[in-house]
Symmetry: C2
Subunit: 161 residues, 2 copies
Amino acid sequence: MLEPKKTPPISIGDIDLDVLEDTLSFYIRTVNLAVSRDLDERLEGLDVARGTGKITTLLMVDSHPGIRPSVIAQLILKDRSAMGRLVDQMENHGLLTRETSVDDNRAQELYITEKGAQLAVQVRALVTQQSKDFFAFIPEDEQRLLMDILRRAYRRIAGLP
Amino acid sequence: MLEPKKTPPISIGDIDLDVLEDTLSFYIRTVNLAVSRDLDERLEGLDVARGTGKITTLLMVDSHPGIRPSVIAQLILKDRSAMGRLVDQMENHGLLTRETSVDDNRAQELYITEKGAQLAVQVRALVTQQSKDFFAFIPEDEQRLLMDILRRAYRRIAGLP
DNA sequence: TATTGTTATACTCTATAACTATA
DNA sequence: TATAGTTATAGAGTATAACAATA
């Protein structure tokens, strides 16, 4: 050693990500972490912050009156138990109401409240802007590409036509 | 109504995703949910299952002996507090050891154990295969495209050169 | 005064299984 | 017997703030 060590043994510039460098799921997971955090910041205080599914549930109930919990569950990739707790929570917050279906007494139909409808308007704008801002550093054409691929992936995973 | 209603008010085929249809962050978040769940299944029982950061920590400590917690924290987008608990956990599982740096007594250096090194070999193979399998339905050229874009996004978010 | 790491806490999500009611 | 939804619970991750030691 001719010189005293002044820097950490490994600095951030020297890092090689090992196999993760070429692992798509690694990038999906880390980018998700960052974009979800950013989204939560923007939604702070708004009843739909945190976790996945609240936003989708709100918008789906707003734009598809009478939609069933099990249908939303499929869209947000959750089971009925998780969906139930989500609906409880949103009902408690006065965002939606549930009614038993007259066609099938096992099933429920969800309807938006006035408060929920107002929040939906707000959330629609917020969510759109957040995604736009967060990914602004990616050129538009690449964003479109990314979205096209991920949309197909999502639809396949969720079992949509 | 000429016919009795036999189907739910809104069935999955009739769903329109509202603004989420064109929201990149929505797709990142949902695809993340699915890919993370699938990964957890494959890692079941393995000390690195659940949450983000364990896999990266294991591989980084294995391939960069003496790496510091704060450097890994930056890579996995966590704060020092979360990182500390991660290192505690992995130390308790006998996967790595920590030593105080001789250069800076505030800092630590992490080293892999034999058990950790063996797990790293296993995890490298598993993680690579999982990502490959999960995204197999996306054509290779699109996968490459996707990865190139997300890699740049990640490096920018993590502050890598 | 800034940095590295620790501790404590409160909150939330996650997964699972067992349950009721209806079809 | 299968389906829609409920309930209970154990385990884990997340975010925050306050803290000690060192540079």
